[in-house]
Symmetry: C2
Subunit: 229 residues, 2 copies
């Protein structure tokens, strides 16, 4: 029986993105069918886990055969809403914001950077990767035209909340926050934090706390969670 609601666990969603990446590669390789056991071999995720993850969204496989790569790829893309373009704006034209704006990986993704914003008058008006840096306070007005649904926050920590509020005002419905600060958003807005310093601090904890160098490239360390090749 298939469920269809949005009640899949978060860890499942994270793994789904890995399955997708693997499926895209399989598709490129011209492989048409794959079983959960074969996926386990490629991803290091238990086959039962894979089947359970998929079962949250429907029944995609054939017993005795496995999954049709193309079909599963399309279905999971639908589930993740990756079958349509998503427009995003970046707030904060500093080092990180500039780097993200120029990220080549977006080309093959459904995500498009359609606007770049800052509050620094010496930056506003300048061109960056073919985008003119605009005044962050104009975002609500300008986004009526841009129609971005995703906001990427690359401002300093002390400005994060203020800019997040502006984004919500502007009709942004999902925020990816790179500032090392927590932002409060209304419950109809999705928000995630990506925090360089936090990641380093967690790695710091593990330094000198790992099994000891008995070699054997058995990757079972406290990895966050991996991705496809």
């Amino acid at each position: 029986m298939s469920q269809e609601q949005g009640n899949a666990p978060e860890p499942t969603l994270a793994r789904l993105t890995r399955y997708l990446r693997c499926l895209r590669r399989l598709s490129d390789e011209g492989i048409q069918t794959i079983s959960s056991k074969q996926l386990e071999a490629r991803l290091g995720v238990l086959s039962a886990q894979i089947r359970k993850d998929l079962s949250y969204f429907g029944e995609f496989g054939k017993p005795g055969v496995g999954y049709n790569v193309q079909h599963l790829l399309e279905r999971l893309s639908e589930v993740m809403q990756l079958d349509r373009e998503h427009r995003a704006v970046i707030a904060g034209a500093g080092n990180l914001g500039s780097a993200l704006a120029g990220y080549a990986g977006f080309a093959k993704s459904p995500f498009r950077i359609v606007g770049m914003f800052d509050n620094n008058f010496s930056k506003i008006g300048r061109l960056l990767w073919n985008l003119e840096i605009q005044d962050i306070h104009e975002l609500p007005r300008i986004n009526q035209t841009l129609g971005a649904t995703i906001g990427i926050l690359t401002v300093p920590a002390n400005a994060a909340q203020e800019v997040a509020d502006i984004m919500v005002d502007a009709g942004i419905r999902a925020i990816l926050n790179f500032a090392p600060a927590h932002i409060h958003v209304p419950c109809h807005i999705a928000a995630r934090d990506v925090d360089l310093l936090r990641e380093l601090e967690i790695l710091s904890y593990y330094l000198d706390r790992l099994p000891a160098e008995d070699e054997a490239k058995s990757d079972t360390a406290p990895e966050a969670d991996g991705l496809d090749s």
Copy 2:
């Protein structure tokens, strides 16, 4: 009774970094004592959760009083090994690598970028943020001098594994991987993935799946997990 081993759950470690950030701010504000209930009000983490998290590492508070901010700050810093400097190298002098190398937030952290590496001969030798870009293949030799324990991976996905191997060769013991690819490391190496596209894909899933705009700035959306202030 206090435990001291490294058997704390990962979610606890992630929250610990949030407690630390809050404690640093409290310390700056000159606040000397804080209770788990007050922390709950500031962080949105249940007080019982906070106490349980802390209990993995010892007993730091006084019943009837709370925690001494400075003392807890120092103890947690020890636990996370943030009381000493950590040297890190960056591999991949592209947009993202360059941005991270220049990240101002490192100044107040125990992390120091001590080397910048790439495989592109047109980049090797150039200066970036006062660091000379060096040949990635020289890392094992050069790191005998640098003594970096942390490696930050900002190379394209298809080079990630190869460069990770070089890092392990070079004595790096923790890897922060920004490439959209999974890397395999020996079990005595810590590794974490930070993946822009994955985060966007997860946000994409939540778009149009949230409670609907009934306003009320009640932040109880599917936030990843927040940070202080």
